[in-house]
Amino acid sequence: MRINRIAVGENISLDQSLDMLPLEPVFKKYKNKHGSLIPLLQAAQTHFGYLPGQVFQMIADETGIPVADIYGVATFYAQFRLKPVGKNIIKVCHGTACHVQNANSITEAMRNELHLKDGETTPDGLFTLESVACLGCCSLAPVMMIGDNTYGKLNGKSAVKIVREIKMNASVGKQ
């Protein structure tokens, strides 16, 4: 059941310091339009990277949809996240084609390299590891996606190499 994707005891974060102003134009655009809940949630997530607690209250105030219903929708769809995510989201594809080409070894290699489980974020906030259903690049299986870049024909080693490169570039950037 899809609701299982949310770990027990996980509360929606209520960070009061968030600036909601950038979302005003989106609310204006969807004002009084039916079926606007999902686009509103998508816009909020695009802006914040996840759905902060305040967004639920704000959408409820603007649209009149009860918070419980909004929460129901947000937890139904795989796209929505209730916790902040890393700068780079590693999406390891586990579609059928990737599965038969040993996608498990890619996830395994990522877990070992980053010491993460699925859905977790590294302490430095650089990576979040996710397994996804299908990225539609089946002929390049096994595949993973980091940010907007898709990497194909991977094995454990080459996948680790890509992640290490991103790490290195990030540390160079800091200096």
């Binding site: 899809r2 299982n4 999902i38 949630l41 998508q42 796209q79 002929s139």
Partner: protein, 595 residues
Amino acid sequence: MEILTKPRVVVGLGSCGIAAGAAKTYDRLSAIKAAGIIDFELSKTSCVGMCYKEPLVEIHDERGWVMYGDMTEDRIQEILNRHIVQKETIEEFAVSTKSLNGSEDAFFEGQVRIALRNCGHIDPESLEQAEKHEAYQAIRSILTTKKSSADVIQTVLDSGLRGRGGGGFPTGLKWRFAAQSEGDEKYIICNADEGDPGAFMDRSLLEGDPHAVLEGMMIGGYSIGASTGVIYCRAEYPLAIKRLNIAIAQAKAKGYLGENVFGQSDFSFDIYVKEGAGAFVCGEETALIASIEGQRGMPRKRPPFPALSGLWQKPTNINNVETWANIPWIINHGAAAYAAYGTEKSKGTKVFALTGKILHGGLVEVPMGITINEIIFKLGGGIQNGKKFKAVQLGGPSGGCIPAELGNTPVDYDSVNATGAIMGSGGMVVMDESTCMIDLAKFFLHFTQDESCGKCTFCRIGTKRMLEILERITEGKGEPDDIQKLETLAYQIKNNSLCGLGQTAPNPVLTTLKYFRHEYEAHIFDKKCPAKVCKPLLHYSIDAEKCTGCTVCAKKCPVDAINGDRKQTHIINQAICIQCGECYTVCKFEAVMVD
């Protein structure tokens, strides 16, 4: 045939091409062009379907047309020099050519490209190019000749086109129901929520020929009397969404979409894209409608069918991307031309996504009725690494496995259904002897269990129980009555679920039980995995004759289960071994045996 003033270089920029490095190749070509030493015209197109050779670059010149594969950025300069300047064809990389000798690659031979007619041939971001290839001719002729909507529906009915999303319901009939429904407001929906893992034809179509889908929807809208179209597209397909939005803006600017299309008719039609948020069940019509309305994507009871009460309780007609893309061709070329392909009950062509252990993976469009073997061996080039063809998985999580023995099964709706699989959206995942069928069934159950919306008890809890049994079997803890339990649960779930997801979720287990029961029995009774996939069932040992005592395996073993001195035969301590397979991977002398 247009006359070329200078050579034209075309790069395939579909999602898969870009993932293989086509964008970098394109950038390099732009730089070479800017340098001005070689004079050529640079343009882009989408995926032609030959994914295994990506990145693909076509070069057109006075000598003809050659398509080169594996065109990475570091290789392209040399190819340009040799092809354009030295007028040479580089056979090593040429995958298809229409140059003087007129040869064609086996991959394209045997294909009949109707839905994919423009994919990989036109720039998907250019309306002008699309129009040179018949775009908007069908809807224009319908409107200018004032063809009645009943006539259009009759043409679609006569073509024999059936829903390409998997259901296989006659498209014309579906339109007639929606057309007969009373209502001042009606909707057309394009189902682009291609959630079936292993299928990507809809993505490729949207990325490659978005105008064909828009025109198909317009024709549908005209026929049932709708003025709004919604494309429900997966958010995981950003390039498809981008190109759809570009195409919609272009069509609106030209007056092809909007109020009184083509400036004179009394037909008004508008289309917008709605991004999905990631839920497989939203491929089901009523769940998709709920999702567009902004609710949880849960299916509801039918009737009433969407044709009577769909989006916002108005009459609605939903078809999938591939179905819509076929429509303009059928109107332009006639129902008989379409029905000339295929079998008696399954007319026309179908696009298949060939993936898995196949040599030439990609998208192919073939006439219905061609056999599975023809697709896999003639078009797909057979199995990778010379291994043996074991089975093909058709129809994704709702489908089933067809064993190699039934390779002569023709692909049409009825023959495929007779095997226990379904045609589905056309994902064809090919498996060789190294695929464990129980592991595969477990994979699909894991998927459907995770994607079950939770509404029906049997689907919500039953799939979970089936998954637990499969997990137990693959861990070597299978019990004698597990097969019986799986079958009982499977039929209970099939019979007591509301929507297609639950009704078909047990299919991967039922078909593997039907054709590969011996593998289940080997796991349960002999505690062995014949394909050597299920790790807890494997037993590693070292062949004393082959072992050179190089110590590599002992060093790599994460639990120090391997003992032995340098230049002495090594031994695996079975009590400690965790069956990780590391020793098997690192041994250079094939001394590690697995059984």
